[in-house]
Symmetry: C2
Subunit: 685 residues, 2 copies
């Protein structure tokens, strides 16, 4: 509907005034000044940037006290909460408040990153990848220069150093992060409060969720003395206020060509959705068997349901002819401008055909690559460990410049953090998952294929999965470490059935990887690089890159909208949670926890709980701080509404909204429901 309305207006572009996930080294200063009369100073930008935190488990957060207190969403924290939970003590379902520093519970394998600097290394990358190279050589050269830049930076600074590909290949920036791996749980509400409304209310608004969790970052056993942290705004935003979002949007596809979009619509998304539905049904059936099963599968099931709902919303956009017409018009305008200028035509004119050719190559290997190299056919935590061990044995002896990207020197510490993690792996759940994914392999690759015969070894998928999980010793972290340290010789001698499986498919997997890298990824980087240059040439430099799970600045205003003729208010109140629960007969997932029921009459029920804004966000922004002009924290992003699900392809602001928890609602709940006086004191000091 938004798209439809927008199409009949040539004002569309100018209307999308709050669009953009901007780079901190290229912020939207002109736009902010023109529309809101606000000019962020370099100090303001630095302060917000260095107060922002990336959760490498897949989300965002921020420092909110001088003593290293970090706030994120409960659903971002869930990865840690699930890993420290046991049959006896469930940190997801019950609330947790550390009564003292000693009480704080350490996460198993969480890594936080704070972005310290950005350096443009485009010229160095491009000088290594010279125009004369064929795709294979270009891909190797690009990998080599990237691995080398990262290693040099790591050696020089000791900081985590990632080369980030921007504009799908238009620019390369080196991001240096301060890394924290000792992260401890300070406060979490019950999941019933954090995710009130569950899957039905996910991506919906109005909303009533206390989707927050506090951690504390430690270094050398001491709480981090954060130089930069966001001061808490006790009042929070009001209707119409300008707000900023500083976080890590995961992925958008706004610069995709039409042909690429068609591939996503016709092949990739249907395949991924089939997989998500398959896994959802599998995990739901597993979870329903007992309370303990439900606990074991909970976090993964949530992730799947969340992706499923987001992807279906996205597919609704992709299958809407109106969206395609709009994208078609945009592409036509750009290509026409390129064609009309002889120099641009020569430089960029063939980029769209290159993308189409890369998609054609992708079509040819899509399922095999998806199953074997992506590992979709081997949906088991233990298999993933086996693959890493097998590949590390082969990659580490190579010069750093020649290694697969994920095994390069700069990333090794982070990889070991997850490879040697003591996070629990449940045999029953891993078996069910592996059996089902092997059955999917039979479906997609064909029962008579060599690959299937080799993988199943004469067993049915279930028998084979049981045999593998029962037989492997990789649950034991000491065994993993021994295999890692022993290198290729240890791998060759191991005889562990999961290692054997990973080894046996590795030649095929690597071949598919190489084909993908050379025929799909490298040509796309080159072609999208040209398209990015063409965009700069045609539209000027006010183009922001697609999201890459790196730090971005978005902005917008706290603002309601109209839906089906009704006005939807910019904010909800704490009292609304009780009303909504009652409307649903307190039936799960609309059942407020006991703490909320017991404390209801202490609360100021008019306190804002959630609010919406026009800021441009996407998955990965979960937990992002929302700040005001003064750089104070006024909220925390936790969702987008259903109308925002096409943001992957298209920003709109008629109805699409980012959804946040309001800073006033957080304080009210901490004070009166959770008796979390020490946390409140730390926040408001």
């Amino acid at each position: 509907m938004i798209l439809r309305l927008c199409l009949i207006s040539i004002l569309c572009l100018s209307l999308r005034a709050d669009e953009g996930m901007w780079l901190f080294n290229d912020p939207p200063v002109a736009q902010l000044k023109a529309k809101y009369g606000f000019e962020p100073s370099p100090a303001w930008l630095e302060h917000v940037q260095k107060s922002s935190v990336r959760f490498n488990s897949g989300g965002s957060g921020s420092f909110v006290s001088a003593d290293g207190l970090v706030m994120t969403n409960h659903h971002v924290a869930a990865d840690c909460l699930a890993k420290i939970s046991t049959r006896q003590k469930n940190y997801m379902s019950s609330a947790f408040l550390a009564r003292s520093r000693a009480d704080e519970r350490k996460c198993v394998d969480l890594e936080l990153n704070v972005l310290l600097s950005i350096e443009d290394v485009t010229a160095r990358v491009n000088s290594a990848v010279t125009p004369g190279l064929d795709a294979g050589a270009a891909q190797k050269a690009r990998r080599a220069v990237t691995n080398t830049i990262e290693k040099e930076s790591l050696d020089k600074t000791g900081l985590r150093s990632d080369v980030v590909t921007l504009y799908n290949g238009g620019q390369y920036h080196l991001y240096r992060y301060k890394k924290y791996t000792d992260v401890r749980l300070v406060f979490a509400p019950e999941k019933a409060a954090a995710f009130f409304g569950g899957d039905p209310d996910n991506f919906e608004y109005p909303r009533y969720d206390l989707d927050i969790t506090f951690f504390r970052a430690y270094e050398d056993g001491q709480p981090v003395k954060a130089q930069h942290y966001l001061k808490w705004s006790a009042a929070g935003p009001r209707d119409g206020d300008l707000v900023f979002v500083s976080g890590h949007p995961g992925r958008t596809s706004r610069l995709q060509t039409l042909r690429h979009m068609e591939f996503v619509r016709d092949r990739q998304n249907p395949t991924v959705l089939n997989l998500l539905r398959r896994r959802e049904v599998l995990l739901k059936a597993f979870a329903d068997r007992s309370a303990e099963n439900a606990r074991r599968a909970e976090d993964e099931l949530f992730g799947i349901q969340n992706s499923r709902k987001a992807r279906i919303g996205l597919m609704e956009g992709l299958q809407d002819p109106a969206l395609f017409e709009r994208k078609q018009a945009e592409e036509k305008t750009l290509r026409q401008a390129v064609t009309n200028n002889p120099e641009w035509k020569r430089e960029y004119g063939d980029a769209w055909d290159q993308i189409s050719a890369s998609i054609g190559a992708w079509e040819g290997i899509y399922f095999d690559h998806y199953l074997v190299e992506r590992g979709t056919a081997f949906n088991s935590g233990l298999f993933q460990i086996a693959r890493d061990l097998v590949r590390l044995a082969a990659e580490l002896p190579k010069p750093n410049a020649e290694r697969l990207r994920e095994y390069s020197e700069a990333g090794l510490d982070s990889l070991k953090q997850s490879l040697f993690s003591e996070a629990p792996i449940y045999d029953d759940l891993d078996t069910v998952k592996l059996a089902d994914s092997l059955a999917m392999l039979v479906d997609l690759a064909g029962a008579n294929s060599d690959l299937v015969r080799q993988v199943l070894a004469g067993r049915s998928p279930r028998q084979r999965a049981e045999e593998l999980i029962r037989g492997t010793k990789l649950k034991d972290v000491a065994v993993r470490k021994k295999l890692f340290e022993g290198g290729q010789a240890a791998i060759d001698a191991s005889g562990d059935p999961m290692i054997e499986l990973a080894k046996s498919i590795d030649p095929a997997a690597r071949k598919l990887r190489a084909m993908y890298d050379v025929k799909v990824d490298e040509p796309q980087k080159q072609a999208y690089g040209k398209i990015a240059q063409a965009r700069f040439a045609v539209h000027g430099s006010s183009v922001y890159p697609d999201a890459t799970f790196t730090l971005r600045l978005a902005f917008g205003v706290a603002k309601g909208y109209r839906e089906d003729g009704r006005a939807i208010s910019w904010a909800t109140e704490i009292g609304g949670a009780y009303a909504r629960s009652a409307d649903h007969g307190n039936r799960e997932p609309f059942n407020l926890p006991k703490s909320w029921l017991d404390r209801k009459n202490r609360l100021d029920l008019k306190t804002p709980l959630n609010f919406v804004s026009t800021a441009d966000i996407i998955g990965g922004n979960s937990g992002s701080p929302v700040v005001n002009r003064a750089g104070e924290l006024v909220g925390i992003i936790f969702d987008g509404n259903i109308q925002s699900l096409v943001f992957d392809y298209l920003y709109t602001e008629e109805q699409a909204r980012a959804v946040s928890v309001h800073s006033a609602g957080i304080l009210e709940a901490l004070r009166k429901i959770y008796d979390a006086a020490p946390v409140v004191a730390e926040l408001t000091r």
Copy 2:
């Protein structure tokens, strides 16, 4: 595992002694006499046959009193229970007991059938379909003679008359049924008792379900005086007892060729499973939004989950190389025998290649046929009504012999019963279903296909579904009747958007139907007819036909089994339900209803509740009476265990079991939990 054990023994065939879904006009007399020393008399067979009832909503049942009381499963009754439920009164979740005849609640559109006679019409069908005809002409001739036989029988006897294809085309029998359409609810337990353990326990054993419901059949406003009904055995069966199952197994595929099985494994089952998972996720998400949504979707969601679990079990069998090897060996033996006999070779030798060719033709149209002719792309009750109206207008003016099978004269009354049913259709649910299936159409047919453009008319799937459901008037039964009576002229003039849609795709759908009928169905009937003859020639006449949702007799013994080294008892006790509920913290779906909790101390907790037997059953057998040598009712089938899910392709009896409610447990619950004295009196009179 069963299959694996069996492979190494050439005793396999002789071990499978309780195999078979036998025709009542060709019962396994010799087998019963040899193994159990029991010879069913013609009177015994007639009594059991005429006491058995088919539920046309998809299950079985039996007369259990002289006053027309009919027992079936709660999950078979669910179709009726859901249709008579409202937001205010939910017949699924609460128990119901009619205090008097006047209290009995009439079902909306339920039809029951009792088989009165069987006549072999193979010769007449085969004489119409002469060898010289090409497939198209043969298909027309077969349809004509079938429609004609049914119409003649209906005119002569007034009975519902169906020509049944047996042995996939080897024989044709005319089945005549007494039909009951005034069926009223007498007693139903809570779903929590009937389906205790829910989806997790479905197809599992040990089990503790009171999966029963009682209806009463009426005729001319009076309870039916049943000439044949099963006397109730208050004691029920003991371990080791011989039992019989008289019911309506829906479909098996035991006579399928290997090529056909491969098609099912590689194409059909994966496609159907994707569809089932897709619909399960969709309906679950819909149901979770509110209690009323859950009620609206409940019966359909159960059906989908039930099919999903059954199909996954079946796929586990099909993807087990051992099952294929066994089927391969069987097919090889049969084909070798045919090849070795020149006459057989001439008559039947080409049948397997004909099947392969038909599968090849099917491959070519599979998705289009599935989406458009099967209507999978238009998953809406209102669309189905529109299609029937559009096709009836075209078919009814034709001579009966030329009509599509489902619109032939003999079936018209039953069709009208469902077409003019006052069963509720919910706009919100129908919209969600239609939108999702249209999105699937875009996935599978391609966004740029002519069909998709025509169907979506420039809208997104969701917009189009909303427009169609909002615009159609077909919810009004009076509108349907008017369109039905007005014939083609009324259809042409209607302008109803759903009618327009059904009309617009009908040419394409009919073309696919014709291709399927001529290239797939007819050649398969001919080829499987030959294979059936070859089987008779090679193995003698002791071959039963694949299941066809017509009455069959199975037999076996009440008998436990061993699993993972543990002995699984032949029966469970009522007390076990309480224990299992406690083990699961009384968490849904292991929460016993209040009636059970309140009455626990009245019960003899040692009373048998469920029991297993080696009888050969499959979906459709739900609700089948289990009878003893004396022809008394000793139980009611409601499930098979997980090991029985390969019964579609292969009967085994090491672990595979049919699961029944025990007649003693039923009486105990009726008396002491439900205070259903009048029902008990009627059963035990």
